[in-house]
Amino acid sequence: MPGLGTSLGRGAATTYQQDLSNSDCILIMGSNMAEAHPVGFRWPLQAKQNCGKLIHVDPRFTRTSALCDVFIGIRAGTDIAFLGGLIHYVLENNLWFSEYVKHYTNAATIIDEQYADTEDLDGLFSGFDDGTNYDPGTRHWNYQEGDDHQPLRDPSLQHERCVFQILKRHFARYTPDTVAEICGCKPEQIIRVATLLAENSGRERTSALVYALGWTQHSTGVQIIRAAGILQLLLGNIGRPGGGIMAMRGHSTIQGSTDLATLYDLLPGYLPQPVACDEHETLDRYVEHAGQSTGFWSNFRKYIVSLLKAWYGETAQVDNDFCFDWLPRIDDNYSQMACFERMSRGELEGYFLFGQNPAGGGPNAELHRAGLRNLDWLVVVDWFEIESAVFWKDDPHGPPAEEIKTEVFLLPTAAAPEKSGSLTNTQRVIQWHDQALDPAGDSRSDAWIIYNLGKRLKELYADSDLLRDSPIQNLTWDYDFAQPPQLPDGSLSQVEGEPDLEKVLQEINGYYVREIDPVHRQARQLQGFAELTDDGNTACGCWIYSGVFPSPDRNRAKDRQRRRDSIEAEWGYAWPANRRILYNRASADPEGKPWSERKQLIWWDEEARSWTGYDVPDFELHKPPEYRAAADAQGMDAINGDHPFIMKPDGVGWLFAPTMLKDGPLPTHYEPIESPVANLLYPDQPINPLTQKFAGPLNPLAEEPTEAYPIVATTFRLTEHFLSGPMSRFNSWLNELQPEMFAELSHQLAAERQIKHGDWLVIETPRGAIEARAMVTHRLQPLKIQGRIIHSIGLPFHWSFAGEAVGDSANLLTALIGEPNVSIHESKAFVCQVRSGRRAGRTTQPTQPTAAWPTSQRVPNTPDAAQPEGRFDHDR
């Protein structure tokens, strides 16, 4: 989230996948889109059919590269260097979109006199006083203010401390030659990409960036996304059709799970989870410190108060701070890695897994398994006997069952067509899915399990008079169906106790707590977040979703009307306010006219005194382009008519980030924590100094370049499998397509290590060793870096020990390394050693199918002539 949020305002893809077909050039980097998101890739392919250029930059030549016009192979973990090279070339050759940059970014803003850059401090920014963190008090990354407390600006961009000049100096050493030495590509290739992007940006043309986990899973992950934001702001591509940054998320509602905040440090709608500190002690102080006085976040108090009303109902009142005290405070890092690290030391007692498989999918999987073995009890909610449910009996690396104390509950859960609910896809579109049939056997939806567990807990706590039990006692928890839901054939669902998820989505949307909708005889629904108040009259579970359920009979996530235009505004509901392209005010010039007819989206209609166009304007509808804020203006009044980034306090895109990030206002190339080479740009500062390393006996790291681990390893996804395999390795149709763990390596490395194609090889890191089949291919090439030949190896991370198709898990090699802002792990670049042969110890055994597949079960009520053609008697 902070990657895009810091630069642009919201932590989400700025555009929608279909819009990629409107691009003139697409740089796919940190994403293997054709393999990981094949259906999404149809849109870039359409751009290609329209003569758009597709560029892929990746450590491996993949199925994506095969369909692109340009492929550039780089060393894993050098993305900021490469993007820095592009930024450098764009700046040095005046290829930036000057009118866009001058009006829509903070290029002109002047930064504190005492700010020092990595250029001045050999790879560190000012404020790194205690040697562990940048001190907000002394880092001086902020804007210089004038006497009127407004940031100082130099519209000519010449002031030596203005953002534009700082940016130029910061990226001065990212020359094509230097970057090529770091990445292992050729200088011409960097120039080729920069030229293609610049030629396809500007008034008439737009370029888009596509990224995925290849950019995020790094110790510099957030800053890589920042670099992408800087590049796209310089080229003037944000908020415009065919432009933007398309974040390709990995799971069906990973966007939704962030929005609704199953994250330790967030409340729904990107409100921070309160921290144990004076600044968050009371509601007022929390709002003062977590909110903003200018820009859209000036509404912060409305959102938190409405959330508290949604959770605690009538109990939440003005005089008790709306029960703000009840929200748990965070006093430490409770992210997945930090939790499992504690768990591995026996510091957790009980744990729940809802559709996740840390025993196979967690970085440093052995540490995750050690964590599970150290729990008192574990609840696994899943469809299959995944690794995290059977680690006590089937882990070939683990101790025998009689030594493992963990009590395990495996609760069978409903398959996707067996439940209804909504999912938020990678382009922020919330889509409802309907239930087709009741869950098989005793399985129940995750919602049923959570809801009924909640009900039972409320019963257990009902009689308590302890203060600490008030939150659970007063939690609003009434989602029973008015009538049992109807299945498509008209029969009634036989499941008892299922919650009505439309009621939940209504609460997420929000309602007036004291007004009754006379037609539906229930609380009146909010039409959108503009109606929220901070006086306790509105309740809203997640303000950015407000508008999705404006009336009890209108679930807009269920909108399924095609308009046959690009936007498709009536298919699903895109947060916020059904906008499909964020910051789309930037699709018009400062005067409000489209930059070009070809790229028009939103414009100012002088006659109607309103913004209009094809998408929902991401701007105050009636604020004219010429509006200028008064010096003391607050809230949205402080945002000028030509400032499209309304979530930012100054209304402009942040080339330079004065706040929000822990590890620097500008992206800087640091080597991965495990790298075979030194940092060519900043020899004194090899790695991101704020990285969380989780040091301990279960997480050894190769922190210095060493001959013991000279090879760069990266993990990747295959089309044919999903994540660590729970949703693919129990499936014979997918297993036959990719049945075994393999490792991709170059012919040169294979020859050097006497590894034959198809033979077994062992890959080792300080965490462990795994075996895999050798896929020797020209798709991987050795790279020449700083005068040395550096080899790379690619490891699909789909296999582990449970399922029909089993194999060693790439995650036994990856490490617990946390990015400083969001604690994401660094699985896309680490070091290893390889050798021919097999590893010691037990091999994995596949789960035996309990029945032949497919069964010859007849399709009911269907004649022989319409039975599946291939369902001949398999089991004979």
Binding site: T216, S252, A261, D325, R329, P358, L411, A436, R468
Partner: protein
């Protein structure tokens, strides 16, 4: 035009061939969404007599327009699968086997464990007297593969109701 021997004849059809039709005739259809990645492909789930008989792409969905990837095309085998667990399985401490249990029993047992762990661990404030109101020894992981509403309920119950701070999923950036 060269000849290639016998021209295709109008061969007689077998009885089944004469009657050939798709199994989707008279089936109930439900609009759903693919459970794999975040592209958000629409799917159609066909049922007959409360049995799933087919899942394929939804042509009307503007994102995928009826198409699917191999995983999406495999969605049927996720639901109809001999490996699927359809009863509660319970493993006692140090045991080497599963035991079959009822869902009600499981909810009862789990609720009791949550309460016991929470009551023992709840901290109103830290050593410096700073407000915490938190539970640290229970946690939860998951959310990106379940529904939005389920995420919301999870955060609301565990975070807002019980004070558990370690509520996590794999979404990060």
């Amino acid at each position: 035009m060269p000849s290639f021997g016998k021209a295709p004849r109008q061969r007689p059809y077998s009885r089944q061939t004469v009657a050939k039709s798709s199994r989707l005739r008279d089936a109930n259809v439900t609009q759903t969404v693919c459970p794999y990645c975040a592209v958000g492909c629409g799917q159609l789930a066909y049922t007959k007599a409360e049995q799933l008989i087919d899942i394929e792409g939804d042509e009307r969905n503007p994102i995928n327009e009826g198409t699917l990837c191999p995983k999406g095309a495999n969605a049927f085998q996720l639901a109809v699968n001999p490996h699927r667990v359809t009863e509660v399985l319970y493993r006692a401490p140090y045991s080497d086997r599963w035991e079959r249990k009822s869902m009600d029993w499981a909810i009862e047992q789990i609720a009791a464990r949550v309460k016991r762990a929470r009551d023992a661990d709840f901290a109103a404030c830290d050593t410096k007297g700073q407000r915490l109101n938190s539970v640290r020894r229970i946690g939860s992981l998951g959310g990106a593969t379940i529904d939005n509403e389920e995420n919301y309920l999870l955060k609301k119950l565990f975070g807002g109701g019980l004070g558990i701070v370690g509520v996590e999923n794999q979404a990060r950036i």
